[in-house]
Amino acid sequence: MYLVGILLAAAAFWMANSGHYKPLMLGFAAVSVVLTLILSLRFKIVDREGSPYARLLGFLAYVPWLAWEVLKANWVVIRACLRADLDISPALVKVRTTCKSDLAKVTFANSITLTPGTVTVEIQGDKMLVHGLYEANTVPESFISMDARCARAADPRGAAS
């Protein structure tokens, strides 16, 4: 089941990247896709995270919101970079996440890191150490909505209440 998912993804990736559809080239494609499958079997990465089709819609809904957040945060950091006198006040805060699965936690931590002005420094259990550029913007409350959206996008259904 998961193997079929990886096969479909690899085949689609090859098609989209090559643009050659002669029989010889398609033969090479089949060989490379099979090689990829054998390698992923040997690496033992054929599991739920290896072909995350079930979460695809959730992620697609999450990405535009994240892009907007990243743009807003970019503006703050750009202003901080170009201001004549440096008025940054860095801070370290602990953020508690409600995400259950590893995938959701990684999504949340990467989202924090991707928005300029905040970097996830360390993850331990359900607590994350976040370093922020401005003390006022880096309070645990400011991550609640992102946390909830990550839990909804990446956690298995039912795990997040």
Binding site: N17, I88, P90, T113, V119
Partner: protein, 124 residues
């Protein structure tokens, strides 16, 4: 009617080239802004924030501009793939850098940088 269609495609091509070029230029400017931030900020953690401007909006706008100027859909798909992988890997590598710095025992500078002093040279 064919003439009208021809006009339309010509128009779209002109618009997308100009718009794509403008987006690429904006991305390049944002990369410079991020570099200025890296040079000005006091320690590795704050510098990571400045570098992430280059990573996200700088590279993002440049790639968006190139996607608008892409000659066919094969190139477009490749640019979208680059965008996705760049967003995933840049966040991960920033996190790894910060984590390595903390593990190595580097203490981040906390609290407001004093005004007037050049580049956050704060005496304790």
């Amino acid at each position: 009617m064919p003439e009208a269609a021809n006009m339309m495609t010509l128009d779209w091509n002109t618009v997308r080239t100009a718009f794509g070029g403008a987006l690429c230029l904006l991305g390049a400017l944002l990369c410079i802004v991020g570099t200025i931030g890296v040079l000005r900020f006091p320690d590795i953690y704050t510098r990571l924030h400045a570098a992430s401007v280059t990573d996200t909006s700088g590279a993002g706008f440049v790639l968006l501009g190139m996607a608008l100027m892409a000659p066919d859909w094969i190139v477009l798909v490749k640019i979208v793939c680059i965008l996705i992988f760049l967003m995933l890997t840049s966040a991960t590598s920033s996190h790894v850098l910060a984590n390595a710095a903390l593990t190595a025992g580097l203490q981040p500078k906390i609290g407001p940088m004093r005004k007037g002093q050049p580049d956050g040279e704060v005496s304790p």
